[in-house]
Amino acid sequence: MKLTADQVKKVAKLANLPLSDEEIEKYSGQLSKILDYIDQLNSADTSEVEPTFNVTGLSNVLREDKVGESLPQEEALQNASQVKDGFFVTKGVFEE
């Protein structure tokens, strides 16, 4: 299955990755190969198999509503490339 340049562009946009034309070309080849590889799974007959969503097989694993400790502000912010007055800073995004 060959992915088109448009499909790669869409995936890149959804993943919020800026790609050059060169990269789009390169990744459409690579992604197509990955899909072909994954596609082998389709040869297995799974018509009688329930999908697995969770490997533990557990249900209702719940915790009581009790407050525990949070990280100190400095620690929460320590990996941020930019901080200001206790906030993480990112380049402007606007809802409008």
């Binding site: 993943a15 969770n54 694993v61």
Partner: protein, 440 residues
């Protein structure tokens, strides 16, 4: 051609649990220092595991059951994938294919008092996002709100008039407060509304092939105005032969119109994906117990007030506005009974005079005031006799004068009774009672 609106509503409500949805950070984020209620889970750090809050699930079920939903046999969490800095994980844990509650309904009233049943498609559990502030070309992020429990309630597109939407939203807010699951304050963002609006030729059964989503509207009034504007805009566009498409619009209160936020081409593609880190929920067996624990809700309470106390439906609706007010009203009825006050009188007095009932003291005072006002019209001999007796006891000189033959001393005694009853008593009746008492 005549058109009719087709409106659906999505309401988000933030739950008032102590801890967050999937971690133990405090969920009480309002007004706190930024990024002081965070941990690896709500910061989306690699390897962190979400751990579901039992109380949040219970509150979500309470909401679902209060809205006449069914609890499903099996519910799962899913990842709603999108990239935006309010979500550090790159996805929001939500529910799409396996919501906790489905197929409910709520009765709403339109501006003319017509009652209709609005179908509720689903009530599901999810997590809130971080809070962004856009300042001077950059965006500041506070993750204190990240992973605070959020419940989403989605209706079928059953509304045909903005006044129904307003009533629905108000009723939801009341229900949240009665249940005690959220303070549901719109301005604070505890409760958020999104409307899907389209129009179709009157009588057409099929849904229109587009819908306009109205987002980020933080008051009932603005929501009504935005929907009204949108209906007008769409009808005008259709009449001009324009084709309407899927889009998201916001409300500009200053200009009082809606504006385009996102068109179909940019619409999100969330690629929901089952959340493998959280166990599935099988909570159907809790349905009955939770249902039994739910307090009497405003709709039912109002109906009971009408049936039991014979008060008007309008008064009942005002009096059930909050659980507290309704409770104080019933207390006032009990106290009023001793003073021969009828529930209807108390209801009228509280509603018409806008009497504040927010404490036991205020209830007592309201009942006393009303009973006082009523003496003149009340044929309550026993009570008047009691007051007359008090006045006689307190004015031995006047009594003596009267019994010596000074008939105008009676006037002083009558005056005493009038003062004690704030003049709300029939003078002739007082005179008669006084005379008969003084003759004995």
């Amino acid at each position: 051609m005549k058109y009719e609106p087709v409106i659906g509503l999505e309401v988000h409500v933030e739950l008032n649990t102590k801890s967050k949805m999937f971690c133990r950070c405090s969920a009480d984020y309002f007004g706190k220092q930024p990024n002081t209620h965070t941990c690896p889970v709500c910061l989306g750090l690699p390897g962190a595991l979400p751990f579901t809050n039992k109380e949040a699930i219970k509150k979500c079920l309470q909401i679902g059951l209060a809205l006449n939903c069914k609890v499903v046999d099996l519910s799962r969490f899913e990842r709603k994938i999108y990239f935006y800095p309010d979500l550090p994980k790159g996805y929001q844990i939500s529910q799409y294919r396996w919501p906790l509650c489905v197929e409910g309904w709520l009765e709403v009233e339109d501006k003319d008092g017509k009652v209709s049943k609005i179908k509720i498609n689903r009530v599901h559990q999810e997590e809130d996002t971080g809070k962004l502030s856009h300042i001077g070309g950059v965006t500041l992020i506070d993750y204190n709100r990240s992973t605070v429990p959020l419940v989403e309630i989605v209706t079928e597109p059953d509304f045909t008039d903005p006044s129904q939407v307003k009533d629905y939203a108000k009723k939801l807010q009341q229900i949240f407060r009665y249940l005690g699951v959220s303070s549901a304050d719109m301005e604070r963002g505890d409760m958020r509304l999104e409307a899907n609006v389209s129009v179709r030729p009157a009588g057409q059964k099929e849904l229109p092939n587009y819908r306009v989503e109205l987002k980020n509207i933080n008051s009932f009034r603005f929501m009504t105005a935005a929907i009204e504007y949108e209906i007008k805009r769409q009808i005008e566009a259709l009449e001009k032969g324009e084709k309407l498409t899927q889009e998201t619009r916001g409300w500009n209160e200053a200009k009082r119109d809606t504006y385009l936020q996102r068109s179909k081409e940019e619409a999100h593609d969330y690629r929901y994906f089952p959340e493998p880190d959280i166990s599935e929920l099988r909570v159907k067996s809790d349905e009955l117990r939770i249902k039994e624990e739910i307090v009497e809700l405003p709709n039912r309470k109002a109906k009971r007030f009408v049936a039991d106390y014979g008060i008007s439906r309008q008064n009942a609706q005002v009096l059930v506005d909050s659980k507290e007010l309704a409770g104080y009203f019933e207390e006032a009825i009990k106290l009023g009974r001793e003073k021969q006050l009828k529930p209807q009188e108390i209801a009228n007095y509280i509603v018409n005079q806008k009497i504040k009932l927010a404490s036991k003291d205020q209830v007592l005072r309201a009942v006393e005031d009303l009973a006082g006002k009523r003496v003149g019209i009340l044929e309550d001999e026993v009570k008047i006799e009691k007051i007359v007796a008090e006045v006689i006891f307190e004015n031995p000189n006047s009594v003596e004068d009267y019994q010596k033959g000074k008939l105008n001393a009676l006037q002083a005694l009558i005056g005493g009774v009038m003062r004690k009853t704030q003049g709300k008593v029939n003078v002739e009746k007082v005179r008669r009672i006084l005379e008969s008492k003084l003759q004995n």
